[in-house]
C-alpha cells in the first residue's frame, strides 16, 4: 500500500508480509546512497518475558550482547561481505530497541539479503561467545569513563525504583558472565521473529523487490514472539532527589529530569511526546526566558540541552550540561516549571515554537538514518511517524500547561551530578 504525505512531500510503500514482518520503503529517486534498517522491538529493559508458557528472566545486558554476536554466520564473515560490496554495516542497542543497518551505493539487493540473513540466523559458537566477554568488558570500561553515560545511568538509578532502566544497557561485568550460547539462542527465538521486527529502506530502490527479499530470506512462517512482562509498578516519585559521583572532569557535569507518566501506545503516546517536546522548548529551550537568564548568569553554556525522552515504560523531561552550580540550575528549572504549570503560554509565542519544532522535523527528513529509525520506533509504538504534522496541529497552549502542572513537583525531580576529582595524579 502506498501512502502519500503531501505536507512532507513524502510517500511510503507499506507492506505487512505473511510472516508478520512490517516493511516500509521510502523512495529517494536520484540519490546514490541506499539504507536499510532492520529493527527488533527488543532492548535492554526486556529481561523478563514469557515464552512457551514459561516465565523467563535473562541476565542484564543480553540484548546488547546478542547484537554483538549476530554478526557471525557459519563460514562467513558478515562485515567482510558487506565491505566487499562497498557497504558499511553496524548496529546498536537501546533500552527498548535493537537496530541493524547498512548503507551502500551499489549491490543493494545483495546487501539486503545479507542483512536479513544474519539477523535471522542464530549462530553462537562457544569460543566466539567467550571471546566477546573481553570486548564487552572493554566497552563497559569505556562507558564508565564517559561522564555523559555515567551521569545518565546514575540519574536512572536515582529516579526509578523497579524499572530495569536502572541497569545500564551493557549490563555489568558480572551479569554478562551469565550469558551463554543457550541464553542467546533463547532470546533470539523470543524476540527476533518477523512479527517483532520491522524493515525500513530508503533510497532509489524497488519496493516489491525489498518485500520479495524479506520473504525469501525470512520465510513465510509467522512464529509468535515472546510476551514482554512489564509488571514494573513504578511509583510516580523518584527514589531519591539527588545522586552524586566523582570523576576527572573539568567542571561539574549534570543531568536532571522530571519523572513523567509512561507513554503507552498509539496516537495518545505520540501526542504526549509532542507535548513533552514543546514543554521542554517552553521551559528551557534556547528561546525560553530561563535559558537566557541561566546563560547570562554563567550557569550554563553551549553544552546545555534537553528534551522529552521515552523508553518502554518510562518517560522523562530532562536537561543536561556542564555547570559550576548544578543545584542552582535545578532550582531555577524547577521554579520555572512550576510557573509554567500555572500560566498559559502566550498564543504568539506558542505558535512560533510549534513552527520551529515543525521546521526542525522537516529538516531531519533529509537524514536517511534518522528517518528510517524513527519510522521503525514509532511503528512499534503503533503510530505512523509521518503523521506528526496533524499531531502538532492539534496541540494547544493548555496542553503544555497541563503537562507541566502534572510533573513540576520536587518529588518527581532528580538531579545527577558528576563532581570533579581535585586530586592531581603524577
Amino acid at each position: 500500500m502506498i501512502r502519500q504525505y503531501p505536507a512532507l512531500d513524502e510517500r511510503v510503500a507499506w507492506e505487512k508480509l505473511e510472516n508478520g514482518l512490517t516493511v516500509a520503503v521510502l523512495p529517494r529517486p536520484g540519490f546514490s546512497a541506499k539504507m536499510a534498517y532492520l529493527v527488533a522491538d527488543y532492548g535492554a529493559v526486556h529481561t523478563e518475558f514469557r515464552l512457551d508458557g514459561k516465565r523467563r528472566t535473562a541476565p542484564a545486558g543480553v540484548a546488547h550482547f546478542l547484537e554483538h554476536k549476530m554478526f557471525e554466520l557459519p563460514q562467513l564473515d558478515v562485515t567482510a561481505q558487506f565491505a566487499a560490496m562497498g557497504a558499511s554495516v553496524n548496529a546498536f542497542t537501546s533500552y527498548d530497541l535493537t537496530a541493524y543497518y547498512f548503507s551502500c551505493t551499489e549491490h543493494f539487493d545483495d546487501c539486503l539479503h545479507l542483512l536479513l540473513k544474519f539477523v535471522g540466523t542464530p549462530y553462537f559458537p562457544d569460543e566466539s561467545v567467550a571471546r566477546e566477554l573481553g570486548i564487552i568488558d572493554q566497552e563497559i570500561g569505556m562507558n564508565e569513563d564517559d561522564p555523559g553515560s555515567r551521569v545518565f545511568e546514575n540519574l536512572m538509578r536515582g529516579m526509578y525504583a523497579k524499572h530495569p532502566i536502572r541497569t545500564p544497557i551493557l549490563g555489568s561485568r558480572e551479569s554478562i558472565r551469565e550469558i551463554t550460547p543457550q541464553v542467546l539462542q533463547l532470546c533470539h527465538r523470543a524476540f527476533y521473529t518477523p512479527q517483532n521486527l520491522m524493515l525500513c529502506v530508503a533510497g532509489d530502490v524497488d519496493a516489491q523487490r525489498v518485500c520479495d527479499a524479506a520473504r525469501d530470506v525470512l520465510g513465510t512462517d509467522a512464529p509468535a514472539a515472546a510476551e514482554k512482562l512489564r509488571d514494573w509498578q513504578e511509583p510516580a516519585e523518584c527514589v531519591q532527589n539527588q545522586i552524586c559521583d566523582r570523576m576527572e572532569v573539568s567542571m561539574p557535569v549534570f543531568q536532571m529530569a522530571f519523572k513523567c507518566e509512561p507513554p503507552g501506545f498509539g496516537e495518545a503516546a505520540i501526542r504526549q511526546e509532542a507535548v513533552g517536546d514543546l514543554a521542554a522548548e517552553a521551559l528551557f529551550g534556547e528561546s525560553s526566558p530561563l535559558y537566557l537568564r541561566l546563560y547570562e548568569d554563567g550557569l550554563i553554556d553551549g553544552s546545555f540541552g534537553g528534551g522529552f525522552e521515552t523508553v518502554d515504560g518510562c518517560a522523562i523531561l530532562t536537561c543536561a550540561g556542564n555547570s559550576r552550580d548544578p543545584q542552582a540550575v535545578r532550582d531555577a528549572v524547577l521554579a520555572q516549571s512550576e510557573l509554567l504549570g500555572r500560566q498559559m503560554l502566550p498564543r504568539e509565542a506558542f505558535e512560533r515554537m510549534k513552527r520551529s519544532a515543525f521546521g526542525r522535523r522537516i529538516r531531519d527528513l533529509d537524514s536517511f538514518d534518522s528517518t528510517c529509525f524513527r519510522l521503525c520506533a514509532y511503528h512499534f509504538s503503533k503510530f505512523d511517524y509521518f503523521d506528526f504534522p496533524a499531531v502538532y496541529g492539534s496541540i494547544q497552549p493548555s496542553d503544555i500547561r497541563s503537562f507541566l502542572h502534572g510533573i513540576a513537583v520536587p518529588q518527581r525531580c532528580c538531579l545527577s551530578v558528576i563532581h570533579p576529582i581535585k586530586e592531581e595524579l603524577s
Binding site: M85, T105, Q138, E248
Partner: protein
Amino acid sequence: MVETVELLPGVVLRCCPVERFKQGCLSIQFLRPMCRQEAALNAVLPAVLLRGSERHPDLRAITLRLDELYGASVHALVRRVGDVQAVGFLCGMIEDRFALPGERVLEPMVEFLEELLFAPRLEGGMLCPAYVQSEQENLIAEIDAQRNDKRAYSVELLLERMGRADSFGIPRTGDRMSAQAITPESCDAHYRRVLRESPVEIFYVGSNPPQETARLLRKLFAGRGRDHKSLPATTPFHDVGGGDVEQCVHAAQGNLAMGFVTPITNRDPRFAAMQVLNTLYGGGMTSKLFSQVRERLSLCYGIGSSYYGSKGVGLVTAGIDNAQRERVQSEILAQLDACRRGEITDEELRCAKASLLSGYRAVFDSPGSVESYCATAAIGGIDASVEARMAQVAAVDASQVVAAAQALRLHSTCFLKGVES
C-alpha cells in the same frame, strides 16, 4: 555540479544547486592563518557575534528570530584545513517550498546573517564587553573540558607533542593561555581585521538558482571597504622530532594514541594509495586493526586509524586495559609491518577501495556532506572533483598500498594510564 562565482575580490561563492533536499545549507567562512596568536580569538569571534546584534540584542531575540524562520539554525563554525583556520557561521533552513504560502526562508536568512556579521551589538562603539568576557569563559571551559573525553584528550596531547613546530600542533580552538589573554579590546580589533582582510568562502547547497543566490550574497559584502590579504599555501608537516608522552588519569581504561608521519599529503599523486592503506589498516570493521586487535585478540573495544591528508599525519587510537599497553602497541605496529611486507589480501584491498568509493558516491546525498567536502577542498586549495578522486582510488593497486605503508613512520605516542578513583 558546483558553480563558482567571485562575488567581489576575495569573496567567492560556491553553489551546489539541488532540489531534492528538504533543507538548504549555507556557510560563510573567513579564512585566517592557523597560528597560536589568533587561534583562540578566531574561535571566540563567531560565538560573540551570535550573542546579539543591533536589532536582536540577546540570545533569546536571536533564537526567536530563528524560530520564526521555521527552526533555522546558525552555528559558530571553527574549522581547521591545513594551515588555515576557517571561522564563521554554518546555517541550515527548510527549503522555501515547505514554508507557508508567500513566505520565504533563504532571503530573510541571508539578511539575518548580514545583521549578525556586520551589525553586532556594540557598547561604546566596541563589541559588547560582557559578551566577549562570557564567551571567553565558555571557550576556556570548553578547552578544559577536552580532558573529560580521555580518548580525544590523548589525541590532543599527542598532536601537541608532534606538532611543536607546525600549525597541526595548535588546538583547533586555540590553547588555554591564548584564550585567557583575550580582552574586549583585542576581540573588537580582531573582529574588524577579520572582516577587512580575510578571504571569504561561501557555500550554498539548495534549490535557489546560483545567480539569484549570488545577488543575495553580493549585497552582504558590497561597499564594505575590504582589503583582503591572500593566505600562503599549506606547507608539509614540519617535523622537529617525536617523543612519548605518558600521563595518569582517573579512569577505568587506559587510552593509547600513536602518531605517524608521511611525506604523502593530499597534494601528492600517492594520496589515494595512502587513503586505501588507512582504510585497510584501521579504517573500519574489516580493517586489520579491528579484525586482529579487537576481534581475534579481544584486546580492546574501540580501535581505529585516521589520516589527515592536508599534513600527512596518521593516528591510531585504542581504549585498552592498562596492563596490555605494550602488547597492544606492538600488535598495532605488527599489523603495519604486515602491510609493509605486502601481506595484503585481494579481499582486503577490494574492501578498502569499495568503502572509499561508496563514501565518495554518497557525498552529494546530504547538504551537510556536500558543504563539508567542497569547503574543505576549496579552502585547502585542492582542485579535485569527487569523480577525479574516485578514479584515483579505483586505480590503486597492492604495490602502491605497500609503498604507502613503507612511507608511514611512527613519530610519537601518548598513553593515558587509567587509575581507579
